[in-house]
């Protein structure tokens, strides 16, 4: 299902003030490890923010003190971020479709913008939702930095004189 290996996992309480730190971590990983352009990193931050906001709300609605868990998976050609909650789940395909953006009715939509936003920002979006919780998988394509010095540096650190 997942193409990469897990690098970072971050678990935060289901409270609004922790969404910022999830954005920070994902952006830091994307900046340091990938050759994603700055605007694509902004896209990923926004998508992560939307998914975390929904995950927090799902946990709270279920009356759970469970954390929201963000994990990052890296493969040569992509970065995947998974946002997981323990809420009651939902049926993504059943979400109501918004009126056309030119429709004046648009104004009545203060909510329901999150998932459409995520969909237009990331390269791939998958949901795994059960009554025990939801995982939102978001993929950004883009290879790692050309000069991969990691192995060398690790060696020189371990052997430092």
């Amino acid at each position: 299902m997942v193409a990469g290996t897990k690098s970072i996992e971050l678990s935060v309480p289901s409270r609004p003030e922790y969404v910022a730190v999830v954005r920070l971590v994902v952006a830091s990983l994307a900046t340091g490890k990938r050759n994603l352009a700055a605007d694509r990193i902004d896209d990923l931050k926004l998508a992560v923010s939307e998914a975390c906001t929904n995950a927090i709300e799902a946990n709270r609605k279920a009356g759970l003190d469970a954390p929201v868990v963000a994990s990052c998976w890296e493969a040569p050609d992509r970065l995947e971020v998974c946002i997981a909650d323990s809420g009651a789940g939902f049926e993504p395909s059943a979400l109501s479709v918004h009126p056309e953006v030119t429709d004046p009715e648009r104004l009545s939509f203060e909510r329901g913008l999150g998932i459409p936003l995520i969909r237009s920002l990331v390269d791939d979006l998958r949901f795994e939702s059960t009554p025990q919780g939801t995982k939102v998988w978001m993929t950004m394509f883009g290879g790692p930095d050309s000069g991969d010095e990691t192995t060398e540096i690790v060696r020189s650190v371990v052997e430092r004189d």
Binding site: V19, A20, K45, S49, E50, T53, L107, G114, L117
Partner: protein, 112 residues
Amino acid sequence: MELGLNVDTSNPTYTVIVVRGELDVYSAPKLREALIELVSEGHRKLIADLEAVEFLDSTGLGVLVGGLKRLRSNDGDLALVCTQPRVLKVFDITGLTSVFRISSTLEDAMAG
């Protein structure tokens, strides 16, 4: 991480609310309360200056849309000042560019 809000009532017609920082699920409620208060105080022509907004997601958008609705139903308006591509992009994708009056400068917003 902190949201900064500054209200400028020096113009007789337009009340300007300058928003700084990240507008997300944590901070958006503060903006909503500020907008509600301004409306209840009788302000009708509002301009939200978003030039110093570093991050905006759909919760922040929702508060702006809510403010716009509240003002329009009171014969008022909420105009925006924004030139930042990453913020404009969020309005674009969600189709809200056509709902809000978005200007490049405060002067333009007041002229409109």
